[in-house]
């Protein structure tokens, strides 16, 4: 029965291959790792564990995130939002920072501006 194995070189999965018979010792079997693995994953032979390198957002990822944060806070700029003056100013500052990212998106896992709480006029 054919099974999927990961080929390990220097602690990194460099290929995933199909084998009918168990290959040499520098392979690990997919069936022993129910969460699966992929090329580029890191393998620690001492602990027999896998980890995936942290995904770094592309500029397009960050553009999408910024756009969504802007669109979901559009309501705060409406005349009938009924936010306190200081809270409205917080939202304006927040959205300006988000907008700056949307205009010039860069790659990386960004330290995003913190969304203000919502304070309404009583």
């Amino acid at each position: 029965m054919e099974k999927v194995y990961g080929k390990i070189e220097n602690g990194v999965i460099v290929n995933i291959e199909v084998w009918e018979n168990s290959p040499s010792s520098n392979y690990i079997s997919m069936e022993n790792y129910p969460s699966g693995f992929g090329i580029g994953d890191l393998y620690d032979e001492n602990t027999d564990t896998l980890s995936r390198p942290i995904y770094v957002n592309t500029a397009e990822d960050n553009y999408d995130i910024a756009l969504k944060r802007l669109s979901t806070s559009d309501w705060t700029q409406g005349a009938d939002a009924n936010l306190t003056t200081s809270n409205l100013a917080d939202w304006v500052t927040y959205r300006a920072a988000i907008r700056a990212i949307a205009i010039n998106p860069i790659a990386g896992n960004l330290d995003w501006p913190v969304k203000p709480n919502t304070e309404y006029n009583t």
Binding site: V4, N15, I16, V18, W19, E60, D61, R69
Partner: protein
């Protein structure tokens, strides 16, 4: 058109002329026999159907049958796994689970100078996934590389909020197809070492890519 590199009129002069000598007659007949033999050998290769047609789906080694005179090898990497996107309904960010790349399929034999690498397809991504480059075939004559024409990538999917439109490119990318035709008596009995790339894993519940394969046509 020549007969053993001599023209027809030259051969007629050697063999059928009334004035030919025994030596010239023997030379001419040798030319004719050599040409007939060459013709028969060429016909044996060009007219016969392939003696073996097989598809390899697991890694290992394969011995080309003794007496073979040509082999056509086609290799496909594994397709990339599909991506999964969980659409959020509030102002939280969507969750992305990209697929992983399919494995590479390789075929090699050092004495034949043969080395094929067919790259697997990239894992699905909700941004542009692109195709994996770096496939290669040696020798390069009578060879081909077709990016994205190999095993299929897995189907991507999205779920969650229903009021959003999923972006494209969620599917895993198809693998690359690569191959070469070797016509030589030296292929006889050679052992091909090969590994077949597995399909990439789908992100979360998305579909995995299809595994690679190797097709052999042997004459």
């Amino acid at each position: 058109m020549t007969i053993n590199n001599k023209t027809l009129s030259t051969l007629q002069g050697l063999v059928t002329a009334t004035t030919t000598t025994e030596g010239n007659f023997r030379t001419g007949m040798n030319d004719v026999l050599a040409q007939v033999n060459a013709n028969q050998e060429a016909l044996a290769i060009s007219v016969d159907c392939p003696g073996v047609l097989t598809t390899l789906t697991g890694s290992g080694s394969y011995t080309i049958p003794s007496g073979s005179q040509a082999v056509y090898i086609v290799a496909s990497g594994g397709g990339g796994g599909g991506a999964y996107r969980l659409l959020s309904s509030g102002d939280t960010d969507d969750a992305y689970y990209n697929g992983t790349a399919g494995g590479n399929t390789t075929v090699s034999n050092s004495s034949l100078g043969l080395s094929i690498t067919a790259r697997g397809g990239n894992g699905g991504s909700f941004n542009y996934a692109g195709n994996l480059t770096g496939s290669s075939v040696t020798p390069s004559s009578n060879s081909f590389i077709q990016i994205g024409r190999g095993s299929a990538g897995g189907q991507g999917r999205s779920s969650g909020a229903t009021n959003q439109t999923s972006k494209s490119d969620a599917n895993g990318r198809p693998a690359t197809l690569a191959g070469v035709y070797l016509k030589s008596a030296s292929v006889s009995g050679k052992v091909l070492s090969y590994s077949v790339g597995a399909g990439g894993s789908g992100g979360s519940t998305a579909e995995s890519g299809q595994p690679g394969f190797i097709q052999l046509w042997i004459w």
